[in-house]
């Protein structure tokens, strides 16, 4: 059965748009049996050039776009921007309730968070299946991307990875559906860069290279992950992940098939 996808983004730049393009290409080519039912953006037309460009692209492809500006909503509520804190401000729950009303008619099986600027409120997360990518293996480093890469370097790890997990109210702690693993040592030219940090102690080149390698896996990994859902290998039942295989599923082989021999990161 065709997998019905809802896409959530703020579309600030090319990173999240590349994820979208990879999934769309996989659908259009018949590789992925799925349909993008809508793209939701927490921005209105005219708020940002990058968002506007993405909206035009989507409309050209006849993909339904739902715009609902979170900034306008907050201002209309007469609320100032909250400082970073563990608790979401109350207006966000009201905003997410409106978002839920807007996306409900589209009937989706799964939502993809791709460059979505806001953290969804617990009510929304608990009533929608949302998939999120985290740039580490299931037993790998947690925290922000900088922390993850710094830990890989400090602990001189040989591999890293990317995983897809179901979003829960606690950030980055939801059940992991899939992962893929890739080497960050043992190959040229990265081994030369590892050797250089032993001499100079400057980790910036290695940091950037690991980041670029990781980024080159994310789009094909997302396609490979959605393939697991579309083929029914992973099923979503009452917001729980089920499979006849052991979860999380290692989709390294499938990711590599989609990714091919991409060495574009070496140009940076």
């Amino acid at each position: 059965m065709t997998l019905r996808i809802g896409w959530y983004t703020t579309a600030r730049g090319m990173g999240s748009r590349k994820l979208f393009a990879a999934v769309k290409t996989a659908i259009d080519s018949g590789f992925l049996d799925a349909e993008i039912k809508f793209v939701f953006m927490n921005r209105a037309t005219g708020e940002s050039e990058s968002t506007d460009a993405f909206i035009r692209e989507l409309l050209d492809q006849d993909i339904p776009v739902i715009n609902f500006s979170s900034v306008q909503f907050r201002k209309e509520m007469g609320v100032a921007r909250a400082k970073n804190s563990d608790e979401l401000p109350s207006w966000r729950q009201e905003y997410d309730a409106e978002v839920a009303n807007l996306v409900r008619p589209y009937g989706t099986d799964i939502g993809i968070l791709a460059g979505y600027m806001l953290i969804f409120s617990p009510d929304f997360v608990n009533s929608h299946v949302l998939l999120n990518l985290h740039p580490a293996l299931p037993d790998g480093p947690i925290g922000t991307w900088q922390k993850v890469i710094q830990t890989l370097i400090t602990e001189r790890k040989t591999h890293s990875g990317v995983m897809a997990h179901v979003a829960i109210p606690e950030v980055d702690k939801g059940p992991v559906a899939t992962y893929c693993k890739y080497p960050i040592r043992g190959e040229e030219p990265i081994d030369l860069v590892w050797q250089n940090i032993d001499k100079s102690k400057d980790t910036s080149v290695l940091f950037n290279l690991i980041r670029e390698i990781g980024m080159s896996y994310e789009a094909p990994f997302l396609v490979a992950t959605l393939q697991q859902f579309a083929r029914g290998i992973i099923r979503l039942e009452s917001n729980q992940l089920n499979s006849t295989e052991s979860i999380p599923i290692d989709v390294t082989k499938e990711t590599l098939l989609s990714r091919g021999n991409d060495k574009s990161f070496l140009k940076t």
């Binding site: 730049g13 990173g15 590349k18 953290i119 950030v171 994310e218």
Partner: protein, 68 residues
């Protein structure tokens, strides 16, 4: 530039957006592609904020010169 555009590119709006980006990056829950996208956005915002501050500083210098 219309008043609407002026408001959109005001220092306050840019700074607010920059703070949102910093908060989001600190919260985690982002892939590498998403993080880099936000990071680059943040750098651009910070540069524009700095430019606006320098402009304001220059204007104040001019006013001081005129007043002295």
């Amino acid at each position: 530039m219309s008043s609407e555009q002026s408001e959109e590119f005001s220092f306050e709006n840019l700074y607010e957006e920059l703070q949102e980006i910093v908060d989001r990056l600190e919260q985690g829950g982002l892939s590498l592609s998403e993080s880099l996208e936000l990071y680059e956005n943040g750098i651009n915002m910070a540069t524009r904020c700095k430019e606006l501050l320098l402009q304001a500083e220059h204007q104040i210098d001019e006013l001081i010169k005129e007043g002295s």
